[in-house]
Amino acid sequence: MNLRGYLKLAQAPFQTMLAYRTATLIECLGVVLRVYLMRVFWTAVYGGGGPVEGITLPMMITYATLSNVQGFVISSWVQWAVQGKVRDGSIVIDLIRPYGFLRSLAASHLGGALLWGGPMAVLTLVASLLLVDLQPPASLAAGLAYSASLILAMGVNFCLLTMVGLVAFWTLELFGFNFIFEFLSQFLSGGLIPLWFLPLWVRRTAEWLPFQSLAHLPLSIYLGKIGGTAIWMALLKQAAWIGLLAAIVWLIWKAAERKIIVQGG
């Protein structure tokens, strides 16, 4: 297998980040501002009161901060990469290159997540610590499980966004579709509001959807809301979603491949 080729692809996002230093810093600053705003918001909402649904204010601030910061590692532009390639026809070049299209997407996504998202997350986290008190993970095991869960979340999001991206083979335009998708993802993942605070019917719905793998599960593990054997169940759930979604992506890709010929490049 052509591992070196994939490694090169994985490095590209890091080089892009170095090339756009101002943009990078401003993006960090924006997230730090949001982290701070969320601290102020939740402090005002709790108003000195006790825990709600077993969540104390320091826990909630930790939740909101991590949710914002981990976005750097989990999020991806893979859908825009696909749209761009489909629109300008460069997808044809990807197809004649000696590597798999989906695998090359995965390589640059992972590269982006680790080499761009990682440093960005650390940078933002350090800056955030000046403004926000962060609680440590519930236990050492919880901390380790959180890291594992985060990596799985990365996989789930990659599959979801690739799915969104492949829609471009039929519509050529993702803007509206992606917008609605991100709207749903924000709420059903628990990234914006913890699922515990939402009405029961929303929680029930979220249970059956892949989105909670993105924020709710990893952060619940971190805070110890999910502990013991339930941790294994949560990780298994995330892994199962990756399997299922990857299969769906592969099927859509097979259909899309036939579609390219129709379009003629």
């Binding site: 600053l29 005002a44 917008f179 709207f183 009405p199």
Partner: protein, 266 residues
Amino acid sequence: MHRLRVLGLVMLAGIKSRMEYRLDFFLRVTMGVVWNLTSLIFIWAVLTRFRSMAGWSQEEVFFIYTLRLLAHACYCLLFHNVQVVSRYVRRGGFDRVLLRPLNPLLQLITWEYDPAGIGDLGLGLVCFVMVSRLLEFHWTPPALAFLVLVVAGGCLIELSLFLTINTLAFWITEAGRLTWLVVTFSDNFALYPLNIYNGVLQFVLTFLIPVGFMSYYPATLFLNRTGDTLFSPAFAYLTPLVGLVLFALAYSFWRVGINRYQSTGS
């Protein structure tokens, strides 16, 4: 008068050309709604669980949100293009604007039309009717008249902020990126009662990036809580004035920027 007619025609042409692509037009309007719904659902869901924040009830926070949304909708509907000024300047497209016999700023504003503002306004009006009912407001003509002034003032405040940032493009190439930071402030920090912030931020949001005047200060007046204004109770009345003064300043700055403009030469 002639100028206004020309502007009206150009703007209409912009809307028409957008309407050519029906689906895209419809999607952009929907996006305006959905974008604002995100923060609305966030506030609504959290306060349904927690009931109040810093002494403001769920309905009162909803009212503050609505005031900002109405002002923001007017800004988007009329002036959204100010945000692309830095792009025109950087790419040299600004030359064309200077050659035409019409105020450059007015030309830029009417250049393209973003239908998202229609969605913002739609949602804003729905919110306004709902919150008026929830708070059992009886709008008298003077109160309504002042509300219109407040919304216009808030609209001018947002316009001035974006105009100032984009005027920086005459000096700094990367000014467009700063827009994003101002959006963070005006989109997020103006949503909540100002008294949740610490002294430094209250000062910033009142005097430096005065988005507090878009929503919080006038809201204390409409909600009969002028005792909760910060710095001075008179601030509750100041929104229209702040809007005008800020716009005058921003526009002067813009004039300075234009005079400094040198084409990119590409």
